[in-house]
């Protein structure tokens, strides 16, 4: 059977299994189906190193008993109907051993609006020669910036995605999407001293990748890190560029707005609806309808229609994010944030993987921080003493929002001017305090996997020195 036939067969078998589960006494049941076809090229040491073609089809079931005990089982052994039904029944038998989730809910059938720009036929038609060509251009343009720069690693991947959700409440939805991803990380070697790795890339739905721009950007980033100097510890203003914002700061926001954390009172923003949680010019949305957005979608991973949700408006907390169950628990609206691709550092989640292997949890689609009007140069020009931080390592501590991050790509700023690259050192503080200390927002929003964020300038950040 080919890819297409497999899909049709799988979807039919899933529907049959749901009917069977209802007969066996399941109160609610759901099947999630995912098929991906990926062409990928990897870069290693300024060479196109490997090419792969990966096909993956699988499905998972969630089944709930009459007293709302829920089980989950998945398989990618999809060639026969018996195996699929067996997986559904496994979910149901596991459910009987689980604890009741009184508010367990699946979405009901609703009209699904189409999100624009998520599918490009050209991506599905592209072959390995296209991926190799893009990878070569990435390498060439990176190295062209300076002979001391090399493209250490990177990837071009072209993905066709087909997904569907069927549940016992009448949801039966399906969508096709494409993804075109290109990134490269580079490092420079100057006078025997390597620079930290610099990363740039594009996450698109169409084949409009611009490898030359990515290569030039990343190459220049590395050149700018030559001749670094250690810094002393001080307190000052820090401009966090989009990449830095997209990791630690976004993770802190996600932890605070995530439905499960709100239900468990593990979010520091519980009980603060309407209160100030960020500076007055900070507005953040979850936007699953963003045209061409990398995390945009027609429906979430439970089949609920996509929407735009204002989480923080002008510094004030306006909404948390929910899936069907967390919304039901708190008797509020489902924001369509069920995700089977949620990020996070939880070990079991990383072992199990994503997609059909994962249970849905609440996660942003595109976490959009509304850009401001200032260019990077303007953000820097108003700093007496501080840093310009392009990237940093380390994680935000869940709940507390504590960040102590090692500076990666970073520059020292004095009297409104970038003075030199920084060697070593850290920034430390509490992400939730930093959100309130934002003094300006850049106009340079950039798309990451689950966010579209600009630079943020934060006042009074503690810099841990490296000398």
């Amino acid at each position: 059977m080919g890819f297409e036939d497999n899909w049709t067969f799988l979807a039919d078998a899933a529907r049959k299994t749901l009917k069977r589960l209802e007969k066996l006494g399941a109160k609610q049941a759901e099947a999630y189906l995912l098929a991906t076809r990926t062409i990928e090229t990897n870069i290693r040491n300024s060479e196109v190193f490997t090419e792969s073609a990966i096909e993956d089809i699988g499905l998972s079931f969630r089944a709930a008993t009459a007293d709302s005990r829920v089980g989950f089982a998945c398989t990618n052994i999809v060639a026969n109907e018996e195996r699929i039904e067996e997986t559904g029944q496994k979910a149901f038998s596991i459910a009987k051993l689980s604890a009741p989730v009184p508010s367990f809910a699946l979405p009901a059938k609703k009209k699904i609006p189409r999100a624009d720009g998520l599918f490009d036929k050209d991506v599905t038609l592209a072959g390995v020669e296209d991926a190799v060509d893009i990878a070569r251009r990435l390498i060439k343009s990176t190295k062209a910036v300076d002979r001391r720069i090399s493209a250490k690693g990177g990837q071009v991947s072209l993905v066709y995605v087909r997904k569907g959700v069927v549940n016992s409440l009448g949801v039966d939805v399906e969508a096709e999407e494409t993804q075109a991803v290109a990134y490269v990380y580079a490092s420079g070697m100057n006078k025997g001293e390597p620079t930290p790795s610099c990363l740039d890339g594009q996450l698109l739905r169409s084949l409009n990748l611009n490898p030359e721009r990515i290569g030039q950007t990343v190459g220049q980033m590395a050149v700018d890190l030559f001749n670094p100097k250690p810094v002393e510890g001080f307190e000052g203003a820090v401009v966090f560029e989009p990449e830095a914002v997209s990791y630690q700061l976004c993770d802190a926001i996600v932890g605070a707005v995530k439905g499960e954390n709100v239900v468990a009172a593990g979010s520091p923003w519980v009980g603060k609806m309407g209160e100030t949680v960020a500076s007055a010019d900070f507005t953040a949305l979850d936007d699953a309808t963003l045209r061409g957005g990398f995390a945009s979608r027609d429906f979430d991973d439970e089949g609920h229609p996509s929407q735009q949700t204002t989480m923080i408006s002008k510094g004030k907390l306006r909404s948390f994010l929910h899936n069907a169950t967390t919304a039901n628990m708190l008797e509020t609206e489902n924001t369509g944030n069920a995700s089977r691709f949620a990020g996070g550092m939880e070990m079991t989640k990383m072992i199990i993987g994503s997609g059909y292997k994962a249970k849905p949890e609440v996660y942003p689609s595109n976490l959009v921080v509304q850009p401001g009007s200032k260019s990077k140069a303007q953000l820097v020009s108003e700093i007496d003493r501080g840093l310009l931080v392009g990237s940093m390592g380390g994680f935000v501590q869940a709940g507390s929002g504590l960040i102590s991050a090692q500076l990666g790509r970073a520059h020292y700023v004095e009297n409104g001017q970038v003075k030199h690259a920084v060697k070593g050192g850290m920034v430390s503080g509490v992400a939730f305090d930093w959100l309130k200390q934002i003094s300006a927002i850049g106009n340079d929003a950039k798309q990451f996997f689950n966010s579209v964020v600009p630079s943020l300038r934060v006042e009074k950040v503690k810099v841990v020195g490296s000398r």
Partner: protein, 462 residues
Amino acid sequence: MFEVLEKGLEARYASEADFVQVRGQTRTITLCTVLNGTVEAFSHITLSGVSARVVTESKSWGFSSTNNTEKNSIEDAVGNAVKLAKTSAKSKSKKIALEPVKAESVEISAPCKKPVEKANLEEIKLIPMEAYRGASEAGAKIANAKASFLSIHDQKWFASSEGSRISQESTRVQLFVDIVAKEGATYCPAGESLGHTGGLELFDENPPIGLGRKAADKAIKLLSAKAPPSGSFRVILHPTICATLLHEAIGHPLEADLAMEGGGFGNYVGKPVMSKLVTIYDDGAVKNGLGFLPYDDEGVKSNHTILVAKGVLESFMHDRTSAASMKAPPTGNAHAWDYGVEPLIRQTNIGIEPGSFTVEEMTEDVQEGLFIEGTFGGQADANADFTFGFQNAYWIRKGKLAEMTRGANLSGNAISVFKTIDAVSREAVLRPGACGKGQFAIQGRVVPAVRCEIIVGGTGGA
């Protein structure tokens, strides 16, 4: 599965490749998570698939995988891989060589006394439930207690056009406990983990209830602890955090693919790179280690590879390609997380040879410093610059352990840090580990405590 794989080796396109490696796998994962006393997640995952990896024209790799295991799917996968490799070969100038290895025909099962599949679901549920019970004894300040049992049963088959036929079976069992203690607006997280290659006998010697108690007690103590200081300190790293430092910041730069990118340990083979007290190895045959992988996914036997001997860089960890290009013997470090992805150079069970000190002796010599425990994970780059979180620390004052502090991050350059090691403890502990280098991996670490200088990024004072 070998019958299916043979068809791949005999596929029409196979003859167009320099050689062909085919792999098949079935995997069963059971996860049971107990959150605050109730089973929050119970999942059963069954996966299977095949993949083909080829080299054509001595220049180009091609890889293709599918979870379709019908008869002709492996033939299609080989065909796809050959097509990919040939297409991209046109644009490649550099030759690829593979270090030759002996063809092997072996069947290996990792020792497992109490197989997970023989336990019923009720028995499995009891494991995280007991861990929770241990945690709950700490009282009302425990705001969140999560215990997860996870088992992975793998059956893997490898066949190559060079004649190897290798089948390997293993069960890996892990238990994670994550606690958040809360008092007023203060939240303190703490965690503990256990894991081995083997069956449920893991819990005979390490009862889950004890793991729950340990994590909860720590979280409660942290509520009244102060923040750690910031700056450079003389520290003793407990094996739990030493494992992270070793894996992330020393282990990764010792992986040949990352080493070849320049920086880090670059071209220092044969030269001193760290303290003479340090000998580092990687060993895929460590009994019960989570990285128990006797053969890698290129069919190479895993060695006890000495990476650093008394401070001198001896070898990197290799796959066959990097071994050939660096003219080194292959070390059996090419591992793929599952059938669906290509092998990468990965650690198996990385270890530091134990030294001669007791931890007490190591503490006695410290006038002012920190004893650092527990990991919250971390990251490092090929230059060995690292950041990672620790869970808690104790001040050391005048040679004695003093009050506890909360966790924060450590950072620095691991090569510089390992130059400052002036004591290694006499007991090395087998720890569970994991890694996300492009794809996931579960690994072991065999680590003693070490004493060194490190930068602590805390927010408190001395």
